[in-house]
Symmetry: C2
Subunit: 542 residues, 2 copies
């Protein structure tokens, strides 16, 4: 039924604008042209220069026939060109496909073919991989080399260099917004621990909203100095290329995670914010005392994945780094829940604080809804902190879907929610806490065993460096927990029995591993432990 408010009040140019994060660079370059935008080795560029370079790149690619919906793949570490690509591609409606620089030629070749990349922009460090990947393709993309002065020579693949390409472009290029905010802005392939990687498609509206959500959830002020410890190829750096630009901040680039270098950059440039896996924080702690000296300002760090254990959080805080724990996936533009901190928790003992901080928390302002429910019926579980269910997400920062994969898309969106495949409990206060991946959980004698809980216990053993727990088939119990453990180099003689009896002290009996295997752990290119390999090994034990 229409009302008086529907008559003659349809959207038009004056009052409807496409939501796109590209808009932020125009504002920042116009208001703060002389403010620092990029720091990279000896390179210093302000926002006017950076905006000019983005427009040159957009215009040059357009001149070479790149249009709306064309894929431009990039194989770049966190260098200035990578920031520029996050603005230039959307300026011409092209789709930015950020490739994981740790992948091999086969994986890259698959992605270039599946994503139908028309252009590949690659750092020379990965020249050989790109050369090999492209050689197997029927439709050869245009390859553009990036010769980063911070790297050195590397392998030249193309006659066309990134800086030469920029010279083809117009720094005053009049770019335009897409006609529809639902248009694709980027393509991010999942790591594909099983089967082929899936191509996750983001759109302009979601990227815009998430960029603002990042700012709101972190209450980020103007002019943040942001250190790029998180790879920009990972969920478009969780949309921070756009957030930091919106806030007229400085992108402090970083080719690779090197703790001494990170500490030096934090000190030299008074870094205010960074993101990354807990392993980055760990690495900082293990740096030399000299490297750690002289940092006397607060650094805010957003950490996804498992929260660091209490002693790590304590030591990190002593270093002046304030950790915010978030949770997300490639399919939802990076983090969408945050362990929103409450001031009344500040007074609690470290152990309790760490326990609270380990929870994945509540939805971002900009995420529509989170729900923990039965994986099949999708009925919400009670908020009792005990009942395990799957995490479901919905809202504007959920992907468009998987590229050219309607089956996977339908499956992922069944019942009006995105199925994360992550298992969690819902606490009484509405904070969710991840217990396991759906495919990792162990069911023993009808009881759910969270492999994360068992692994947390193993990590508390002083001799354990790394641990992973998987299901081992068992005639009587169905499954039992099987632990794969890497000991610290300095660990003395530790037996299977030592580990098991340690676990008995800290875990309910049915959760204690029946088997402990001492070994190195297989990992993906992004450093994730490959549990499917371990599961195969556990099966073969029978």
């Amino acid at each position: 039924m229409t009302s008086i408010f529907d008559e003659g009040l349809a959207p038009r140019d004056a009052n409807y604008a496409v939501q796109s994060p590209v808009d932020f660079i125009e504002r920042t370059a116009s208001v703060y042209p002389n403010y620092p935008a990029i720091i990279h080795g000896a390179i210093r560029r302000n926002w006017a220069e950076t905006y000019d370079r983005c427009r040159r790149l957009a215009s040059a690619l357009k001149g070479r026939g790149i249009h709306r919906g064309d894929t431009v793949a990039v194989m770049l570490p966190n260098i200035p060109a990578m920031v520029e690509c996050h603005f230039a591609m959307p300026m011409i409606g092209a789709v930015l496909n950020t490739l994981n620089v740790r992948l091999d030629a086969d994986a890259i070749g698959f992605m270039l073919e599946h994503g139908e990349a028309k252009v590949v922009i690659a750092d020379r460090e990965f020249g050989q991989v790109i050369k090999d990947a492209v050689s197997g393709l029927k439709n050869k993309p245009l390859v553009i080399d990036v010769d980063d002065p911070e790297y050195g020579e590397g392998v030249q693949v193309s006659d066309l260099d990134y800086e030469a390409l920029l010279k083809e472009g117009d720094p005053e290029f009049q770019w335009s917004f897409p006609a529809d905010e639902w248009d694709a802005i980027s393509l991010n392939y999942t790591s594909g621990t099983t089967g082929n990687p899936k191509g996750v498609v983001y759109h302009h509206r979601g990227a815009y909203v998430n960029a603002l959500g990042n700012q709101a959830v972190w209450s980020m002020g103007m002019h943040p100095v942001y250190l790029w410890t998180l790879p920009m190829f990972h969920c478009n750096g969780w949309c921070f290329p756009w957030t930091i630009t919106a806030m007229a901040g400085t992108h402090v680039c970083l080719r690779r995670v090197d703790p001494e270098k990170i500490l030096q950059l934090i000190r030299d440039h008074q870094v205010t914010h960074m993101c990354g896996a807990p392993i980055v924080l760990n690495a900082l702690l293990n740096a030399s005392p000299e490297a750690k000296a002289g940092i006397d300002h607060e650094v805010k760090s957003m950490t996804a994945g498992a929260a660091p254990p209490a002693q790590v959080i304590g030591a990190i805080e002593e270093l002046g780094i304030k950790v915010t724990h978030v949770y997300g996936l490639t399919e939802v533009y990076g983090p969408v829940t945050v362990c929103a901190w409450k001031s009344e928790w500040d007074e609690l003992p470290l152990d309790e604080r760490a326990k609270l901080k380990a929870r994945q928390g509540v939805r971002y302002h900009t995420m529509g809804g989170t729900m923990v429910g039965d994986p099949n019926t999708m009925e919400p579980v009670p908020k009792d902190g005990k009942t395990i269910g799957e995490i479901f997400l919905r809202g504007n920062t959920v992907m468009k879907g998987y590229l050219k994969n309607p089956t996977a898309t339908e499956e992922a969106f069944r019942g009006g929610w995105f199925h994360t495949g992550d298992l969690a409990v819902w606490h009484e206060d509405g904070y969710l806490e991840i217990k396991d991946r759906l495919k990792d959980i162990i069911i023993s004698g009808g009881e759910n065993i969270s492999t994360i809980e068992v692994e947390d216990t193993l990590y508390r053993h002083p001799a354990v460096m790394e641990a992973a727990v998987v299901a081992r088939p068992d005639e009587k119990w169905g499954e039992t927990p099987c632990a794969f453990v890497t000991l610290k180099p300095e660990a003395g003689d530790v037996s299977e029995e030592d580990i098991i009896s340690f676990c008995r002290e800290h875990l309910a009996r049915f959760k204690v591993p029946k088997t402990v295997i001492f070994t190195d752990l297989p990992k993906t290119s992004t450093g994730k432990i490959q549990k499917f390999v371990l599961r195969d090994q556990a099966k073969e034990l029978n």
Copy 2:
């Protein structure tokens, strides 16, 4: 032309959510149920309680037949019910029409009839006005009295009391988002200095985006303590009812602007943020030293309209209040430009800082575009700080249009921009500075004269309390400036010649008023000087 990114990737429930600011209260009430939401006299309510009351109100109104597109008018000062209405009405798709409590029965009657209000919720202070206004209406709305304990008795209009209405409602009411984010959320009448007021319609998308924009532009942290010095009936309190709620802040209510009371609330509740006209800041300065004592924390204040002069800014800063200067209109949800401050300006002398701060600045992150251009051709003026043009605005926080007024809507949106009717110059750094209203500017011998510039000069004369300048028709020059001046009570003998010679010292000769009239100035109910009355008087001088 479609691309691979368009195939099978249409919006659906999991990945498309309507943007609506109502969403924020659900999040805040669920994450921070026990945090303070409302302070009003002796009343203290947390977010769980406030959310329950909003749902009760929504559900009760629905029970009484209020549906999507129905207008609910409110005649309320800044009391808790006013905050609640900003969430309850959009929960059921109703349109919140906030009435200016300073208006008389005729004006209110016009608005209730034009907006087709089905319900009027009114504070008893305005009972008589509402009674009179409603008595003249053919279709009588349901009237609901609000009996605020901070006011006392007042005039009872209805047998139905607000608190009794809430009891009809369900605190667990399952509200739903509108089907379309373009749906109307509120109706705000312009002050109508000439002719009938126009009904400005806002939509959910714009209110959502502006709520986030407020937070971003002010870099507002979590849990602001916000003092309601700005009337919520004015552009929905510039969307701050939604911003403060999103950030889980505290709404400190205030029935009327009383400097002593404001200072007491700032001190007692450690207020962090407030908004309002410069006159509010002025009033604080003139309060007693006792009232000003004991405020030792920083208060951020957003000020629209003319920026305060240097000495006021200096004194205000000494009081611990940090002023941000913004500009907007009813048609654009309140402020859309901000004088974005640069740290390098901090070191400048007070006079220069005040001069920079007086500029209306640059667009909000969430405003699409601002342009200063020729009022007719809409060609942009050069960024020379001299050429005067009209301010044009476009973007997601521009109104849907004027209710039942297609002619005015078309005129306002001509050429794809909203025509503000404000005249400004564009400085070299992209900051705009208002010079006059389009209808106020004086053209004398072919030269533009900014009445604001002349008034600023008059205000610098030590005997002048208030001043307004309008055009007086002139045979030779076309128009000449005519000044209407109210002297300070303590001012001695000041003549027309004194004022004119003072102006000669500070202004180019053609800008100096040819006529000075000492008088009280006619004002609208919102305290704006009615220049059209003065223009009529100036005409009659001939």
